[in-house]
Amino acid sequence: MNVIEIKGLTKIYNTSEVIVKAVNGIDINFEKGEFTAIVGPSGSGKTTFLNMLGGLDKPTSGKVIIGGVDVWKLSSRQLIDFRMNNIGFVFQSYNLIPVLTAGENVEFIMHLQGKPKKERKQRTKDLLEAVGIGNRINARPSKLSGGQQQRVAVARALASKPEFILADEPTANLDSTATNSLLELMSKMNKKYNTTFIFATHDQRVIDKAHRIVTIEDGKILSDECFERD
């Protein structure tokens, strides 16, 4: 079943000197439970593509339909709520809220969703344990290593029980130990909750773990291959 359908997605940046077609007419579908890497060299349009897919950056043309909802037809308020309930984000530079503890960062989004306190606390605890830092629940991000912060970010992305998680170069700032354990974690979460994961990456370690590899260059899909992995 397709959870995400993308049709003719295009983003054109009109700078003063040149016109950049950052994403140039992409058609693609994603299914429930995928573990997919969007691969391509720097500047190929991965971030732009992911941002349009995640409702962060408005396409010049084309459609993003998630669970039957035409995302870019939503009002800006509806769009924010839509992101909150359906999409989890993991960013390259972790982007945890610095004034909140690890636990509060995870709980924050459930707060926004208006979940009851008991459920919030329980789920926060479960998620942080699942990502392996249950003992750092009260630590502020600045007291955590990069790898630990990215684990909290994954827990935060999962907290709202989203349909899918978008991760833009999640391992770019991590050493290989941290990268490996984060990948293991994400693959475990993918299996445990059947959450769809879509990465933008040019990190070979991530590519090696992906079940589907979509290669883009100059804003266009070059290849789209599936792999059997365990």
Binding site: T47, N51, G54, L56, D57, S76, R77, I80, D81, R83, M84, N85, F89, F91, N95, I97, P98, V99, L100, F108, I109, H111, L112, Q113, R156, S160
Partner: protein, 405 residues
């Protein structure tokens, strides 16, 4: 809830910045309050000098007397004026006076002075004359004696028990002359009064000037200056010619002008002070928002509505203002109160100038409530003004540029 927590913690992320920002508001409020308290204190003391020592808040006299203050333009106090005054609830007290110039002589010295015939009891209730008796005793109604102000007494070289001769012109040009024992010496805090005033009971005074039952003015008291506008307009509508009523403000236009001019000067200085503070805080807030651009973008990206974000930023800005203003007011209250109770005595040239102007040489402070809450309101408005920026930013922040920053 959570919004408050986030705002609160953000404030203490860079504690020095919050402290400096709030601190600048704190000092601004403190300085401004102190200045205003001092200004208002000096006005109150000037008004007091004029009103409570002598002129009262309002005076009733005839139109002719207003034009030309001679004994011939005095009036006979009748029932209708009395009724009007007594019907006005804001008038707390009133006292009759007959006032004219005369020469005062001791054995071999003479000086021009102002003779004031008073009802000793009423006068004391209105201006508290009795408390200025330094030597001897206060007058009673049937005395045929005088109280003489200290500097004048010194000049004439008379003391309690001595006699003085008053002579001048009475009603319709009749010769006025009399010998009176000095019953007491008055020492006013106002040098002006000390140089020329002689008080005597109304009856004696009317006899001296051959003006039986005549008064030059009625002096009216109120609880305070705030009651003046309504009481005045009310009485003005009721008092008909040949009588008229004038407030101290109308009787002393110079004083009013001086106060207004001084207020305008103070306002100008305070505006500049607050303008500097405003731009200082605005700088802090601009910095605070631009530093956190990415973080703000992330919050919106993961699902925080922009209005919630704008609330966080608003609370932060507002709190900086609140902290500074509250601290400023809290600290300024005991300080101004202390100086209110203990006016600062002035020395040197400033004091001398003030004495010459008939003002007590003290720096007075006021504790009128509006001195404090006006500061709070000003800071509140400034804060609202400053908070517009982060609120607009929360609504217009571009997610992609925030996330790429």
């Amino acid at each position: 809830m959570k919004i408050f927590t986030i705002a609160w913690r953000n404030l203490w992320r860079k504690p020095w910045r919050t402290v400096i920002s709030s601190g600048s508001i704190f000092f601004g409020v403190l300085l401004s309050t102190f200045m205003t308290s001092m200004q208002y204190g000096s006005y109150e003391s000037m008004i007091n000098n004029v009103v409570k020592f002598y002129s009262g808040y309002m005076q009733i006299f005839t139109e002719d007397y207003h034009e030309n203050k001679t004994i011939n333009n005095t009036f006979i106090f009748n029932g209708s004026i009395k009724q009007i005054i007594e019907d006005e609830p804001k008038v707390t007290n009133y006292t009759p006076r007959l006032e004219y110039f005369s020469l005062a002589s001791s054995e071999n010295l003479t000086k021009g002075s102002i003779i004031i015939g008073i009802d000793p009891i009423r006068e004391n209730m209105v201006t508290g004359l009795k408390k200025w008796v330094e030597k001897g005793r206060y007058l009673s109604k049937d005395d045929d004696a005088v109280l003489i102000a200290t500097d004048l007494a010194k000049y004439l070289n008379v003391g309690v028990g001595d006699t003085i001769v008053l002579y001048g012109q009475g009603y319709h040009g009749v010769l006025a002359a009399g010998i009176y024992p000095v019953k007491g010496i008055l020492n006013f805090p106002s040098p002006e009064l000390n140089k020329q005033f002689i008080y005597m009971p109304l009856n004696s005074c009317q006899q001296l000037f051959s003006a039986p039952n005549r008064l030059s003015s009625l002096v009216l008291m109120l609880h305070d200056n705030y009651q003046l506008p309504s009481a005045l307009s009310h009485l003005k509508s009721k008092i008909k010619p040949p009588f008229m009523i004038r407030s101290w403000e109308e009787l002393q236009p110079g004083l009013v002008q001086m106060i207004e001019g001084d207020k305008a000067g103070g306002l100008f200085m305070k505006s500049i002070l607050y303008l500097i503070i405003t731009f200082g805080i605005l700088g802090t807030i601009l910095m605070m928002v631009s530093e956190r651009k990415r973080e703000l973008g992330v919050m919106i990206a993961i699902g925080m509505q922009r209005y919630l974000l704008s609330r966080i930023l608003f609370i932060e800005t507002f709190f900086i203002g609140l902290l500074g203003a509250a601290a400023g007011i809290i600290v300024s209250i005991p300080i101004t109160y202390y100086y209110y109770l203990n006016p600062v005595p002035l020395e040197g040239d400033a004091a001398k100038t003030m004495i010459d102007m008939g003002i007590e040489p003290y720096m007075y402070f006021s504790i009128q409530p509006d001195i404090y809450y006006v500061q709070a309101v000003v800071v509140f408005i400034i804060t609202l003004f400053i908070a517009v920026y982060p609120v607009i930013k929360a609504y217009t922040l571009s997610l992609t540029s925030a996330l790429r920053s």
